[in-house]
């Protein structure tokens, strides 16, 4: 636990992320109310309003739904979409990058040109275009985000494999008669994973923001599910009369993304001491 004292930023990040995960997992137990229940009499009630049922700590929205409960439930969508998209893009990107670096030649050239093409697309526009073709929805959203995120892993994995391919421990394994799959699994992959983990941590924040942005534009999670991006859409419409509608879900997004960035910083410094402090 000594790292907690050395890096209070990462400790705070871990705490916030743990809180977000806990509210996602335990939403029905920690949320004060059902996020879908409408209390029309108390619609647009400001934070700390009292009602027959209790206190609306963060106020209510235009349909009288409890904002605190919706923020708690919203963590489910953000974290599910974010974590799944990160896991998918990391797995695909690492696999492609490792194979590209290990096999080399034509395969490598082809894959690197594909990553060039994809890097040429501003990712939000690419996501918009794909969503326009496939249609909105949680599953398509995850696919789109995973598709826009794999390139970073592939690039980094490839270059670190290129550095490792001719190293003594790989040559030795090959001389001892190890098969290619065994070399990849036992010798190459463990060397690549730390940097993949760092990228994943940074990209989780980006995925959560992208999910919220697409949902905010009306192209992501359907309105029937409570989500931070969707709450911001409502909040934007009631900005002039009820500031709390947009403020709290936005703060939830920012704190979660901040937490993943702080953890990413710490991971990078811990795994690559040369980059520490930059």
């Amino acid at each position: 636990m000594s790292w907690l004292r050395r890096d209070p930023g990462a400790a705070a990040g871990a705490l916030v992320l743990a809180l977000a995960c806990a509210s996602a997992l335990l939403a029905p137990h920690v949320a004060p109310a059902d996020p879908g229940i409408q209390d029309i009499v108390n619609r647009l009630a400001p934070p700390l309003s009292r009602s027959a049922g209790g206190v609306y700590w963060l106020g209510t929205d235009q349909l009288g739904r409890d904002i605190l409960s919706r923020v708690v439930y919203g963590a489910r969508v953000s974290l599910t979409v974010g974590l799944t998209a990160v896991a998918l893009s990391a797995a695909v990107g690492t696999l492609i990058g490792v194979l590209s670096g290990y096999c080399g030649r034509l395969w490598d050239d082809l894959l690197m040109r594909i990553t060039d093409v994809q890097l040429a697309f501003p990712s939000i526009l690419l996501s918009l275009a794909i969503v326009a073709v496939l249609g909105a929805g949680v599953r398509n959203l995850i696919a789109v985000l995973a598709f826009s995120g794999w390139v970073g892993y592939a690039r980094v994995a490839r270059s670190s494999v290129l550095g490792m391919r001719r190293r003594e421990f790989v040559e030795a394994a090959r001389a001892l008669g190890a098969s290619h799959p065994r070399i990849l699994r036992r010798h190459i992959l463990p060397g690549v994973l730390p940097s993949m983990l760092t990228i994943a941590s940074f990209s989780l924040g980006g995925m959560i923001t992208a999910e919220a942005a697409l949902t905010f534009l009306g192209l992501g999670v359907p309105a029937s599910l409570p989500s931070w991006g969707g709450m911001l859409t409502d909040g934007a419409q009631y900005m002039a009369v009820a500031w709390w509608l947009a403020t709290f879900p936005g703060a939830a997004i920012m704190l979660t993304v901040l937490a993943t960035n702080l953890i990413g910083d710490w991971l990078r410094d811990a795994l690559d001491p040369r980059a520490a402090g930059t």
Partner: protein
């Protein structure tokens, strides 16, 4: 240098060709343009008739060649809703997007480059810590939320600035600042890191020991070398911003390309979506190409290599 330029040009052409394939696959293979054109309740016969009329029943390679030939002549199809060339609709929006992008990036560079340099030169002081705090918060703040907060504070509560639309610097200030914050956070971080990278180099000690004034050491030797990665980053940032900031433009009702793309998606006007994506990708490829050429010119190791 000439070989480098030639190689880079070929690379850009390959990327553009790949981009056209990606857009084609998206629009013609994964998505069905006819299904997007017609209302949901259209019959199979109606679909087939339109498919034939548009040449979509021909082999894929034939369609691709026709698509590329059209694109090269500036023909990206007609807008389904407005019945004018899709590219013309996109080009109409370019000035608004460019105005916003250039203002945002100027604000960002003007703030972040001095801040990054100062943070590196005064490492581990208050200013360094403040700069780091700014970068990490700036990079974590979703643009659309910052935009909503800015509208709430400066537009709704204080009534200092208009909440949306275009016209005059007052309309430009909020969206450009909001868009600039994210860029500024990245540039500050990179500037600080690049200056720290060169700060211990031998040539700086040489420059100091031959009696150069500190301003000359910093200006002529340190910053010139630290500038390289920062220039590349700013070029990429400009390329991205010129592609249209879909979210910020929507929040501030800014009539740019990003907002056009979002509106076109809701109107199921696919030729316009396609034209926006292709145009944005082309601008981005051009921006990276120019950045790389500028980089080569700035860095003698490439210029004479």
């Amino acid at each position: 240098m000439q070989r480098y330029i030639a190689r880079r040009l070929v690379q850009a052409a390959v990327v553009l060709a790949g981009t056209s394939v990606l857009v084609f696959v998206l629009t013609h293979v994964i998505g069905d343009p006819v299904a997007l054109l017609l209302p949901f309740q259209a019959s199979q016969e109606q679909l087939a008739a339109v498919r034939h009329a548009l040449g979509l029943d021909r082999p894929l390679w034939f369609q691709y060649v026709a698509f590329v030939r059209g694109a090269l002549h500036g023909d990206l199809g007609l807008s389904v809703r407005q019945h004018v060339p899709a590219l013309a609709l996109v080009l109409e929006r370019v000035p608004a997007t460019a105005e916003l992008a250039l203002t945002a990036l100027s604000l960002a560079v003007g703030l972040s480059v001095p801040l990054g340099i100062l943070a590196a030169l005064r490492r581990r002081t208050f200013i360094d810590r403040a700069a780091l705090l700014f970068t990490i918060i700036g990079q974590s703040m979703p643009t659309f939320w910052l935009g909503l907060l800015a509208i709430l504070v400066f537009g709704v509560t204080l009534r200092w600035l208009p909440t949306g639309g275009m016209g005059g610097w007052a309309h430009l200030l909020l969206p450009a600042t909001v868009l600039g914050v994210f860029s500024a956070a990245g540039i500050t971080r990179l500037t600080r890191a690049s200056v720290l990278d060169v700060v211990a180099e031998d040539y700086l000690r040489t420059a100091r020991s031959k009696g150069l004034r500190e301003t000359a050491v910093i200006g002529r030797h340190m910053l010139r070398n630290a500038a390289l990665p920062v220039v590349t980053w700013i070029g990429l940032e400009l390329g991205t911003l010129l592609g249209g900031a879909a979210v910020a433009e929507t929040v501030f009702s800014w009539p740019g390309m990003g907002r056009l793309a979002v509106q076109a998606i809701f109107a199921r006007d696919f030729p316009v979506v396609q034209a926006t994506v292709l145009f944005a990708a082309a601008v981005f490829v051009l921006a990276t190409l120019l950045t790389d050429l500028l980089y080569a010119w700035l860095d003698p190791r490439i210029r004479y290599g």
